[in-house]
């Protein structure tokens, strides 16, 4: 009896802990996932009746699959199969998170945080957008077949996996995967749109502008400064514009009572602004080979398993190599025999908020124009593990879902609806399908016509010597200032006109012989359309400075630029910040820190102590300056303060402009003191704070202090890694605490034949029990790249470093 109890006890899960017997026994427990690094994780022969013809897959020493199919359906089937075999848990977890089903797996969470997360995902309309995208795909037989083939491949793999061979996360959390579908791929793309287009501050800006007035708002948030370098220089012949801003008749008025928003309920978290990317290309005029060089490194959250998976796809119609999000067919960033391409985020605001007035408490009707429109209602059931389901009703207006309902403010409860480009059905998969097959500049343009959201800057180079850069996305035509603040739903119809394709900025073989983008503003104020968004100010100028200097450039120059640690923000601002200080008034330790900062070369290398001092110094004056918006300090945290809900402090660039230009300013005064502070007082206080913190630090070297984290998606520390590396947010080598170059790629077009070099901070396998879970992390940290093999000559793959898998038809 006791024995039976013991066995049963070891076989069931107790209060969220994995079942010990099931997990720890060496036959079916976690030991089962201890992969032999010399063996493949798949059988060498796979039979599927869904294949039309045999497929050969060669896995190289890094477990990159080189897939050779005889037709495209089989190609994407095999891609789905292979991706699932490497990253099944990640694929599904990302999609379940997008769909708002985390509580179903993990329970309600501390303070119901998982339920709230799920509610948020559904209210902002990730499911709604994915359903719209699904409808667009299903209306197109070609797209349906493409994504269905991929999906069939995923499911074919899943049907072969025994429960005990499922990724360890399934065993630890205790659930089973569901079949893949086109809808899940749509959810994955929706999730990327969410990550890349969610940074907007309509409600925060409304709050500010009605509290402090338009002119302070303009000077602190909108002025771009004179010496910035937009992605696309203004053309000599001027911009074309078919529409004028006045074409939209609505006059954008400031929200009347926004200042009463000061006591806001909690707004939903926004993605970290440290997400960004670099890309650039040089024409043959500036390279040693006389052919283009191209570079791309997207900076995303550093995670295990990695955001990307690397692949080589080949069929009689296509031969392409690069990286893709696990869960989507094709290649997203990469190259083929003729062209190479890469992306950076455009950062344009395509997410607007509208206040909705309901007729009564039933909320069946809301105010529009001079009458009332009916809301439509969608019922959502949020399943919760170990607890009853939670139900939510989402109200839809003509603009989109009411995300914030009965949101508590000083002016009573308010309702805010969201209009978002990501909600619309669109065909981004066609862009990548066509880019994978593009042969020249015209094909590239044709591919981009399908691309709407999230808007990206697509860099391009071709073996014929062409280089180009184009911002691509759907941008609604807006009145001046439209979308900066929240608007009145009763006075706005949904977006209906978009900037025409030919009037979106592009550079094709420009005179300066290079193109580049690093999330900066798209164009200067002469661009005829109203532009709003979140932009970067420093990386792009360092990149352009280096590209201008380049002459007979080689691969080594591009590698060096991807690893450039020059801190332009420090170089521009530290000298005047130090001038504000009176060195003689500092104690001995303070003078040492002063001298270190004063003689710093502005390089954020891993071993630099001064980089740490500067970071602490700038955090300190930033918080002191914007103390009006600080809710509380978080001592010892990487982000040393928590901002008040409903407020957004100006960015670092605007902060420095303010400090440099004005000695006295209402915001420079610190509210915590009796006297009125000037910039000089502020700097002195910040320096003292920094000095204080430095004495408490156990490690002072920048790389060790920053302690970059590559975190497992389910935040399991044992499956995560910390790194001691240089760089930072706002630096070309944008390796911050939690974000960094998620894929470093350089393409060399020498001799009209593309050679690719790449590396990413992770490994092909999602299995923490595999050598290939993190085998590229150190190479990535050390600045090593792999030469990427994409030849179609199969004899290359017959050597010992490749393992061949035969997919056979039945």
């Amino acid at each position: 009896m006791l024995t039976i109890c013991l066995v049963i006890a070891l076989n069931i899960r107790i209060s969220g802990n994995p079942a010990f017997g099931s997990l720890l026994n060496p036959f079916s427990g976690f030991y089962n996932l201890a992969e032999n690094p010399d063996k493949l994780h798949l059988p060498l022969e796979i039979v599927s009746e869904q294949l039309k013809a045999p497929v050969e897959v060669f896995f190289d020493e890094r477990r990159i699959p080189h897939i050779f199919a005889e037709n495209d359906d089989d190609l994407y089937f095999a891609q789905g199969y292979v991706v699932a075999s490497l990253r099944l848990w990640q694929m599904e977890f990302q999609v379940l998170a997008a769909e708002g089903r985390i509580a179903e797996l993990l329970g309600p969470g501390e303070d119901n945080k998982f339920i709230e997360f799920d509610k948020k995902q559904r209210r902002i309309g990730l499911k709604y957008g994915a359903e719209n995208k699904l409808a667009t795909i299903m209306a197109d037989p070609f797209a349906t077949q493409l994504i269905q083939s991929f999906s069939d491949g995923v499911n074919a793999y899943m049907s072969t996996v025994k429960t005990e061979d499922l990724p360890i996360e399934y065993q630890l959390i205790g659930y089973q995967p569901e079949p893949w579908s086109i809808y899940k791929t749509a959810l994955l793309l929706m999730n990327m749109s969410n990550v890349l287009t969610s940074t907007e501050y309509d409600i925060e800006f409304s709050n500010f502008v009605t509290t402090y007035g338009q002119s302070l708002f303009d000077s602190l948030y909108r002025d771009q400064g004179a010496n910035l370098q937009p992605i696309f220089p203004a053309p000599r012949e001027g911009w074309q514009a078919s529409y004028k801003n006045e074409d939209r008749l609505e006059i954008i008025e400031l929200p009347v009572d926004a200042s009463s928003l000061q006591k806001l309920g909690a707004l939903y978290d926004k993605p970290d602004v440290q997400i960004g990317s670099n890309n650039w290309a040089l024409s043959g005029e500036k390279t040693a080979s006389g052919y283009p060089l191209l570079s791309n490194d997207p900076h995303l959250k550093l995670s295990f398993p990695s955001v990307w998976i690397e692949m080589h796809l080949s069929s009689p119609n296509v031969n392409t190599y690069g990286v893709v999000f696990p869960g989507a067919p094709g290649i997203i960033i990469g190259f083929n025999d003729y062209i190479g391409w890469g992306v950076t985020n455009a950062g344009r605001d395509v997410k607007d908020w509208y206040e909705v007035i309901f007729k009564d408490q039933q909320k069946d009707f809301y105010k529009y124009d001079h009458g009332w429109l009916a809301t439509s209602k969608v019922f959502e059931e949020i399943k919760v593990k170990g607890a009853p389901s939670v139900f939510d009703t989402i109200l839809f207006t003509h603009l989109g879902p009411v995300v914030y309902e009965d949101f508590v403010t000083q002016a009573g409860n308010k309702n805010f609806a969201l209009q978002w480009m990501a909600h619309k059905g669109s065909q981004e998969y066609m862009t990548f399908y066509k880019l994978n097959r593009a042969k020249n500049f015209e094909d590239y343009l044709e591919a981009l016509k399908f691309y709407e959201c999230p808007a990206q800057n697509f860099v391009f180079a071709c073996v014929d010597g062409d280089i180009a850069l184009r911002q691509q996305g759907s941008f609604p035509i807006l009145a001046k200032n439209e979308g900066l603040f929240y608007m009145d739903a009763a006075q706005h119809k949904a977006w209906d006109k978009y900037i025409p394709f030919d009037e979106i900025p592009m550079n094709h073989n420009p005179e300066r012989n290079f193109v580049s983008s690093a999330n900066q503003i798209v164009a200067d104020s002469t661009y005829p359309y109203f532009v709003n968004g979140v932009f970067e100010y420093y990386r792009n100028r360092v990149i352009n400075m280096e590209l201008r200097k380049m002459h007979k450039a080689t691969l080594a120059d591009f590698k060096a630029l991807q690893f450039n640690n020059y801190n332009l923000m420090a170089a521009e601002n530290l000298p005047f910040m130090l001038r504000y200080l009176d060195k003689s008034s500092l104690d001995v330790e303070g003078q040492k820190l002063f001298d270190a900062l004063d003689s710093w070369d502005y390089e954020n290398t891993a071993v630099s102590l001064t980089a740490t001092y500067f970071q602490l110094f700038s955090d300190a004056y930033y918080t002191l300056l914007w103390d009006e918006f600080v809710e509380s300090e978080v001592p010892g945290g990487w982000d040393p303060f928590k901002w008040k809900d409903g407020w957004k402090a100006p960015n670092e660039f605007q902060t420095h402009r303010l400090l440099q230009d004005s000695i006295q300013h209402p915001f420079i005064d610190n509210l915590g003191t009796e006297r009125v502070e000037t910039s000089k007082d502020l700097m002195k206080m910040a320096f003292a704070q920094m000095q204080n913190t430095v004495t408490t630090l156990e490690v002072k070297e920048w790389g060790k202090y920053k302690n970059t984290l590559i975190e497992h998606l389910a935040m399991i520390p044992a499956f995560s890694t910390n790194l001691d590396v240089g760089g930072n947010y706002k630096i070309v080598n944008a390796t911050g605490k939690y974000h960094g170059p998620s894929w470093r790629m350089i393409l060399d077009f020498a001799g009209g034949k593309i050679k690719g070099y790449g590396v990413y901070p992770g490994g092909q396998s999602g299995n923490p029990g595999s050598k290939y879970y993190d085998n590229m992390v150190n190479e990535w940290a050390n600045g090593d790249y792999h030469e990427l093999i994409y030849t179609t000559d199969r004899s290359t793959y017959q050597t010992a470093q490749f393992i061949k898998v035969n997919f056979k038809t039945k």
Binding site: T3, L6, V7, P26, F27, A34, E35, F719
Partner: protein, 121 residues
């Protein structure tokens, strides 16, 4: 001699059955061996414990070895005991306890049934 026989039998049968059946089949194997081949309480304790201890311990060790100890090291962080050897020991001891108790159960049943001495098989 019979002790050694029972010991080896548990290891062989336990290994083969666990390849195809759920892990807890090892308890049934031990129970049956306890029912048939074990003659004394102390033999039941000893044989059951060390047979499964050895089987699970060696399997855990070999599996981890061919994996260059990648996974066992991560799991030791996760559980968290920060020592891969301790996890493998824990695996072996857990197996041993299961083996010991199930063999003992089998043996007790045998003794109950054998009160009026009756041949098995």
């Amino acid at each position: 001699m019979k002790v050694l026989f029972a010991f080896i039998l548990i290891i062989i049968l336990g290994f083969v059955t666990q390849l195809f059946l759920p892990w807890w089949v090892v308890a049934i194997v031990c129970f049956l061996i306890g029912l048939t081949f074990v003659e004394k309480t102390k033999y039941a304790l000893f044989t059951g414990f060390f047979a499964v201890f050895t089987l699970w311990g060696i399997t855990a060790l070999l599996t981890s070895y061919q994996n260059d100890f990648v996974l066992i090291n991560r799991m030791s962080e996760l559980l968290p005991v920060h020592n891969a050897w301790l996890i493998m020991l824990l695996t072996a001891v857990m197996g041993g306890l299961i083996g010991m108790l199930s063999t003992l159960s089998g043996y007790y049943l045998q003794t109950i049934n054998n009160k009026p001495k009756r041949k098995f098989k």
